[in-house]
Amino acid sequence: MTRFLLRRILAMIPVCLGVTFLLFSLLYVTPGDPARLVLGEEATEESLQEFRREHYLDRPLLTRYGLFIYNTVVHQDMGRSYMTRRPVTGEIANTFPVTLNLASGSIVLATVMGLAFGIICAVKQYSIFDNITMVIAMLGISTPLFYLGILLILWFSVQLQWVPSSGFDSLSQRLLPWITLSATSMSIITRMTRSSMLEVIRSDYVRTARAKGQTERVVILKHALRNALIPIITIVGIQFGHLLGGAILTESVFSIPGMGRLAVDAIKARDYPIVQGAVLYIAMAYVVINLLVDLLYAWVDPKLRTQCR
């Protein structure tokens, strides 16, 4: 198991290098002069040159990339924001937990509700509950999350005035963003759980469990669900990735000071160090999630567990 973990963690390194290099290339070709944007129109040519030298903007792509990796790995230093002049690591430390909270709260909500709805739909196939849930799930998949967010603000903040429409400090502030961000994933997980459970429920080993005289509840939750979980875990992993992306939009709709908004603002302002740091963190989060998904697999599927040993 330790060897498996170690191998997987080592495999993360090329991915993170690849992602950052890709980003460096993109930023390299991006039009717009950061020096000009930061120092303003009145800046002298000398001060512009000075800024570029200070931030290695006059160096070739590979040099800049090498310096970034060296400083990040050796000094844990990702530079300073052009705009605020504060260290990137500090800016990210302020915003990353918010985004992580938003995304993990949403994935927990999406998974728990998606599993529950999916299981009930499968057990009561073609019932009224099943039909209504499937229609809502289709709506959930088709609604852009920024539209859903605005609608929720309109109903629950503006008209009913139950919860505030922005911020992310109190539980009441977090409720709408969590729901908004989880809606699509919840719908997808519900549909996946339903179809996966339907397949498993008809299997021979579920019949065996019934033939033992097992109660229906245990048959569904112990025998059927654990087998149905295997494809569902893949979907949950993919959805967590999507949620990290969706968090960017959610943060924009609800004015949440998270890393997604930080990244978007930085891209617009050509604040390269912030963009680099934020994307690196998101990529790492992504890779860690994939690792967790693989570990979950091993926990659920004994075929993989016996291989990993």
Binding site: Y205, A209, R210, A211, K212, G213, R226, P302
Partner: protein, 341 residues
């Protein structure tokens, strides 16, 4: 009735139907069958004759929808299974009636260790601690010829024959009174088949369990069974003790089955077959369901189902040819009593 007490199982006029897209499938239609304590009965018939449906009906595991028990009764130890609550049925399933399914590859849960799957059965029907249940599960593994240390392993680490041993261990874990084995060897290699049959033979003597062995293989049935029932299109056509049936098959269908077994002592170029195909279960023919394929069929065969007649003591045949020299036209009650004699 006295006979009910000595019979562990007594099925009367059972009818099971499935609603499908193509129509109402009458999988079992007017089936009568009984089993004495400790008796091993071979239930023989072609694919689609309704053997598995009968087994599932006894277990009360007909999936509904699309299936439903449309009529009849199933007496197990003198009590009607159909009248029991779901709770009572659960105690009988596994505890008193156990079933071995056809395909060992798919009938074990892939994500649970085999000892857990055996122990689950024990915990459900006996008052034991988790530890005792696991211990007993490993004992069962030993009993079916597997190493008890392999208990924590998962189904994918076992071969097909070993998996079927595990399935047998699960079924026998609570010493059931009745064991239904649905084609237990069909999915296995021939050499493994012999081993599994031998194991079942041993265990049958060890537990003295009444057994219904479902098979389409007359050879397998001959090895294990005291009596044999021939099933066709949802009905029993002939039932007798194994010796009498093998020596003297009476129903034209049974005769056809025996004739289609290739005789190794003769050099034949063509195998004997029964002409025609089994009837469409959505549209059973009126009268005797075998009549359309029967060489002896006469006009009388398509009028009303032939009654079960005792051709000689303990040997029953449902064929209109027998109605003349047998018991004649019997009333339904008498006929039933005889058919289960």
């Amino acid at each position: 009735m006295d006979q009910q007490r000595e019979h562990i199982l007594d099925i009367r006029d059972l009818r099971v139907q499935y609603h499908t897209d193509t129509g109402l499938v009458k999988a079992v239609e007017g089936l009568n069958l009984s089993l004495a304590r400790g008796e091993t009965l071979g239930l023989v018939g072609e694919t689609g004759a309704g053997k598995t449906t009968t087994a599932l009906a006894i277990m009360q595991l007909i999936a509904s929808p699309p299936g439903r028990i449309a009529g009849g009764s199933i007496f197990f130890e003198g009590e009607d299974m159909l009248a029991k609550s779901e709770e009572e049925k659960r105690h009988i399933r596994g505890g008193k009636i156990a079933m071995i399914f056809q395909d060992p590859m798919t009938s074990l849960n892939p994500v649970l260790s085999v000892q857990e799957q055996i122990a689950e059965m024990i915990r459900l029907h006996q008052k034991v601690t988790d530890k005792e249940a696991l211990e007993k599960a490993r004992d069962m593994l030993g009993l079916v010829g597997l190493r008890p240390e392999r208990g924590p392993d998962y189904p994918h680490q076992f071969s097909g024959g070993m998996k079927q041993r595990v399935v047998i261990a699960i079924a026998l874990a609570c010493s059931p009174r009745l064991l239904i084995a649905d084609e237990p060897t069909t999915a296995l290699d021939v050499t493994i088949q012999a081993q599994i049959l031998e194991l079942m033979q041993q265990l049958k003597q060890h537990f003295n369990t009444a057994t219904i062995l479902i098979s389409h293989d007359l050879g397998v049935v001959a090895q294990l069974c005291d009596s044999v029932a021939i099933m066709y299109a949802g009905r029993i056509l002939e039932k007798a003790d194994a010796k009498s049936l093998y020596a003297n098959p009476q129903h034209p269908y049974t005769q056809g089955l025996f004739n289609s077994i290739p005789d190794m002592t003769k050099n034949v170029t063509r195998l004997n077959t029964i002409a025609g195909l089994p009837p469409d279960p959505t549209e059973l023919p009126p009268g005797c369901c075998f009549a359309p394929r029967c060489a002896h069929a006469s006009g009388a065969c398509s009028e009303g189902s032939p009654r079960m007649v005792e051709y000689k003591p303990g040997h029953f045949v449902a064929c209109s040819r027998m109605n003349g020299n047998g018991g004649g036209a019997l009333g339904p009650a008498e006929e039933r009593g005889q058919a289960h004699g």
